[in-house]
């Protein structure tokens, strides 16, 4: 798959992005890594010309609950991107895993949210299922 990997607007951490970039490449995907502190409009602009198969937001500064939906809204505002799956993960709040807030992010339109102890293996499983869905889709 073609995947756009990005931080949120206020998050300057990058080791999480470096790690996910390697993880996605090892799984055979092509990655565009936008790096730290990505404003919502830059994220959307980076996806418009060649809509990716998946957008991955990774954030660990505790502002993910606030910043994530703003990034998502900018992506969804582009017509060519309104069906692209968008997921978010990392340390999304300041007090550890908060199931209600993860649910709120799903309700806000994120395809899935990965912020719990098993996040990485769940994310890897999500990638495989999304990949096989796409294969099935292109065969039909």
């Amino acid at each position: 798959m073609n995947i756009v990997l990005s931080s949120t607007a206020s998050d300057s951490h990058t080791w999480n992005l470096v790690y996910l970039h390697l993880l996605l490449e090892e799984a055979g995907h092509r990655v565009v890594n936008l790096g730290a502190c990505v404003p919502p409009d830059l994220l959307a602009r980076s996806c418009v010309d060649a809509p990716p198969d998946l957008v991955v937001l990774s954030t660990v500064n505790g502002h993910g609950h606030h910043d994530g939906p703003r990034s998502l809204a900018a992506v969804r505002a582009e017509r060519v991107l309104d069906h692209v799956p968008v997921v978010i993960g990392g340390k999304l709040g300041t007090t550890g895993h908060e199931p209600e807030r993860a649910d709120a992010l799903r309700a806000a339109g994120f395809t899935d949210v990965f912020d719990d102890a098993g996040a990485v293996s769940r994310f890897t499983a999500f990638l495989s299922s999304l990949g096989s869905l796409r294969l099935a889709g292109s065969a039909s």
């Binding site: 300057s12 990058t14 080791w15 470096v18 790690y19 390697l22 993880l23 790096g35 730290a36 502190c37």
Partner: protein, 400 residues
């Protein structure tokens, strides 16, 4: 001489915390506690992250609503307020440095000068590439302007950039080049930073190399080296954290760094309390005794750093222009740094003895590794990032 530099000159090892609170009263109490610690200390005011990125409106709103900031908003509090924080606290025996992290430091420099302070830190490369999207060109312009108007002590952050997996030759070169940039813009009292990484012998060699280059390239400038205790994942156990911190203090004295920025037992978990900071300062001062171990061995860090520095300074008489050109050509290339102005062709790894090595050097004028190594994968990266914490925590488990 600048009061900050003079205070550092009076002790074998001066110890310094990271510390910043939004309330002027609490900030003052924190500074007083550091001043009264049983150790040769200097004070720190760390600014909050809104001030760091220049969003002073957000800092003001947070102060009004009492949300709580993660540092002291030195631009938002007026100069009289900051003077009151410092009154009877900051003096020749206890100078205070402002730490901020801004790619555009102009407002912070003006605010600290208005409050009567004259010591701060950063750099055009080191506060742009790792944390910001701002073009390097803009950061160089802002830092040039800030330095021209500044008359005080300035510390490079360049020896700490992504410093946990960066082969030391490059960190030494960056720290030196930022000091040369400061000097070019009229700053006459500087410190050169380096961060503790994965192997004490390699770090000692790096600090020694940094001092040799400073002596060569900063002849008419007052300078010293400052060591930052490990900046990556910190040991989770209090004893592991103390052991790592004590090793940092020993390293500083062994290699001739005159000041150390400490970390605390709370580092892996949360922002430390004032008491935890004071304890860390006193522990570091006690651990920093004269070195009686083997001398530093030269394995080539000085030669590598010298090649990088010379290649950059050859590009232009203006160090800012030279730095821009060097990053454009990939002559400087920070491994794992995602900034658009970093070439991103170089990669590093930790070898079996804990030494940081190049896997690939990109276009940098440094010796390519003789043996090819498998580039770090995701699992290898996680292992490398957690290596130091793990080794100190497992040493604790062995101690029982």
């Amino acid at each position: 001489m600048n009061t900050f530099a003079a205070a550092v000159g009076r002790s074998l090892l001066v110890v310094q915390p990271r510390m910043g609170m939004d309330s002027p009263e609490v900030m003052r109490a924190g500074l007083l506690a550091v001043k009264n610690a049983d150790a040769p200390t200097v004070g720190t005011i760390t600014v909050d992250s809104y001030t760091r990125v220049g969003d002073h409106e957000a800092a003001r709103a947070a102060l009004r609503s009492g949300v709580g900031l993660n540092g002291y908003p030195i631009v938002t509090h007026d100069a009289a307020t900051t003077r009151a924080v410092l009154d009877g606290v900051a003096d020749a025996d206890f100078p205070v440095q402002v730490r901020h992290g801004s790619a555009d430091p102009r407002a912070v420099f003006r605010a600290l000068t208005a409050a009567g302070l004259d010591a701060t830190e950063g750099g055009p490369v080191s506060y742009c590439l790792p944390y910001s999207r701002r073009p390097l060109r803009d950061s160089v312009a802002h830092w040039s302007e800030a330095c021209e108007e500044f008359d005080g002590h300035l510390e490079t952050f360049g020896g700490c950039m992504m410093g946990q997996l960066c082969p030391p030759g490059l960190l030494v070169a960056l720290s030196l080049l930022e000091a040369v940039f400061f000097r070019h813009h009229g700053v006459r009292s500087v410190s050169l930073s380096y961060t503790q990484q994965t192997n004490a012998d390699q770090d000692a060699e790096a600090i020694t190399a940094l001092r040799a280059l400073a002596a060569r390239f900063l002849p008419d400038v007052d300078w010293h080296v400052v060591l930052y205790a490990y900046m990556g994942v910190f040991p989770g156990t209090p004893t592991g954290a103390r052991l790592l911190m004590a090793d940092a203090a020993r390293l500083a004295v062994r290699a001739g760094a005159r000041r150390i920025i400490v970390k605390t037992v709370a580092e892996a978990h949360r922002i430390p309390t004032v008491a935890e900071n004071v304890a860390a300062l006193e522990d570091a001062a006690r651990a920093g005794v004269p070195w009686t171990g083997p001398p530093v061995v030269d394995t080539g860090v000085l030669a590598e750093a010298t090649r990088l520095v010379e290649a950059v300074l050859e590009l232009s008489d203006d160090p800012g222009a030279a730095l821009l050109d060097a990053f454009r050509r990939g002559l400087l290339d920070v491994p794992f740094c995602l900034h658009p102005d970093n070439a991103g062709a170089a990669r590093s790894h930790v070898d079996a003895h804990g030494w940081l090595r190049w896997s690939t050097v990109g276009a940098m004028p440094v010796e390519a590794p003789r043996r090819t190594t498998e580039p770090l994968g995701s699992t290898g990266l996680l292992t490398a990032l957690n290596r130091v914490a793990q080794s100190y925590d497992s040493a604790v488990a062995t101690l029982g």
